[in-house]
Amino acid sequence: MVRLWQKDNSTRDEFDQLLRPHVELLYRTALRMTADSYLAEDLVQETCLRAFRSFDSFKKGSNFRAWIYRILSNAAIDNARRNANVSFIEWDDDETGNVRPGAYSEIGRSPEVHVLHQSFMNDAFKAMMRLSPEIRIVVALSILEEFSYDEIAQSVGCPVGTVKSRLSRGRKQLQEELGEYLPANKNSTVPNLRPVADRNKAKD
């Protein structure tokens, strides 16, 4: 394709290089915010356009991931508010790529496990969508993407204390809605709560 845009290519190249490694992560978060693969792609495209338009405001050497997540977060919350009364269409498994996330992982599961898996996944997505968008983005970034509190605060644009309280409320709501999937506790030992980094070291 011939690009007619010639001016300031270095800026565009720099933007592309910074952006490309984060697209998958942006998409995942967008999917968790929208529960719709098409909407998620729309959201990421919109985020990238907004980011490009305001790239002048990005300070070189600062945290690009937090910066672009701030834009995604704002766009996602705007989008969620705008579509608050829109009922979303259920996923269809078809050849267009509009496949329910996680469907690929059916392979190798017994029918019983598969049913449980599908059921939990569906309910988990529904429970996520019932969280307010402000809480949902914090839950997505913390539990699912393992951002630090500080980075979430930068990404969402709120104090760390607010991140903690939103996360706590989100967790509580998810526990209430999905608690039936957890087995009754039979333990009398201390659960393995070493930090993830330590656990990864242990694997090595």
């Binding site: 495209q45 356009l49 338009r53 050849e95 267009t96 988990a124 699912l144 967790r171």
Partner: protein, 306 residues
């Protein structure tokens, strides 16, 4: 297990421990106090249960809500968006045209003052309910913008409908209805063969005084999810996006998307004059049946007809 009496002091202690447990899960805990927390977990069934449930919930959410989708197609669309954005903000360069057909189409100019109203066969509703742009429209828009920015030649440079149809019919797995009716004020410039959404589609390019409209025609087969967002047959829907007007409708197993760089009112008139003859002169019945079989086979294999 140590039996602690339930009182406000114990509850406060448990609340604090549970907060520490969650912080630990988030890699945000204070190592100095963690040994004390562990002791508490050994002695308190409530907190130990809370910790176990929290670990399991975290793990299950991470496992079940993951989506390792290949984002290369999404990245391509982002690049196209950025290209289009850049070219639209640089009008001097964006009006450069290199192709022989494009040179005529994209010459600078204003929208012609008047378009004659055509036969209004379709019900038309402004799309307030459907706020989600269907993927077929997005892809058509992307193609339109990319083509416009690239200045490439049309595949077939002709204003003769029969010639365009003859060229396209060998390359598509459906038969394209092509009317000789021309929207008032517009000229047919030619056609292109496009490929997106795992299928081939035809794009007819019309122009008028520097403005451009492209009519994308594609088979509906295999687009079930997308079509849920497009109203019933023969109803026009308008999507305004990225400075373009998009008019979409379905007819006789085909999906039509008009992408136009002129205002909504003119775009709707254009679509109506294009769409009505298409629906009046539908596909040949024998060809439809034959081609539908071919389409079904192709869509299952996800391989467009070569």
């Amino acid at each position: 297990m140590k039996d602690e009496p339930v009182n406000s002091k114990t509850e406060m202690r448990c609340q604090s421990v549970q907060e520490s447990v969650l912080a630990r899960l988030d890699n945000e805990s204070d190592e100095a106090v963690w040994s004390q927390i562990e002791k508490h977990l050994l002695s308190c069934e409530v907190c130990a249960g809370f910790a176990e449930n929290s670990i399991m919930m975290n793990a299950r959410l991470r496992e079940e809500l993951k989506d390792d989708k290949d984002t290369s197609a999404l990245w391509s669309r982002i690049v196209r968006d950025l290209d289009a954005e850049a070219s639209s903000t640089d009008s001097a360069q964006a009006t450069v045209s290199r192709g022989k057909a494009a040179g005529g189409i994209f010459a600078a100019g204003a929208v012609a003052a008047v378009m004659l109203a055509a036969i209004f066969a379709f019900p038309f509703t402004q799309n307030d309910q459907i706020k989600i742009t269907p993927l077929a429209v997005k892809e058509s828009m992307n193609d339109f913008l990319t083509f416009k920015a690239s200045g490439r030649d049309l595949d077939v440079d002709s204003n003769e409908p029969r010639e365009l149809r003859r060229w396209l019919v060998k390359r598509l797995d459906f038969e394209v209805p092509l009317s000789s009716a021309m929207p008032a004020g517009f000229k047919l410039a030619g056609a292109r063969l496009c490929a997106f959404l795992n299928r081939r589609s035809a794009a007819f390019m019309y122009h008028m005084d520097g403005n451009l409209a492209s009519v994308y025609v594609m088979a509906e087969t295999g687009l079930d999810a997308i079509l849920k967002r497009v109203p019933r047959n023969n109803e026009l829907t308008v999507f305004l996006s990225r400075g373009l007007t998009n008019v979409v409708w379905r007819s006789d197993g085909l999906l039509y998307v008009v992408v136009a760089d002129f205002p909504e009112k003119e775009a709707v008139r254009f679509a109506k004059s294009i769409g009505d003859p298409f629906s009046v002169f539908p596909l040949k019945i024998t060809s439809v049946q034959e081609n539908q079989t071919v389409l079904a086979a192709n869509s299952a294999a996800k391989v467009p007809k070569g």
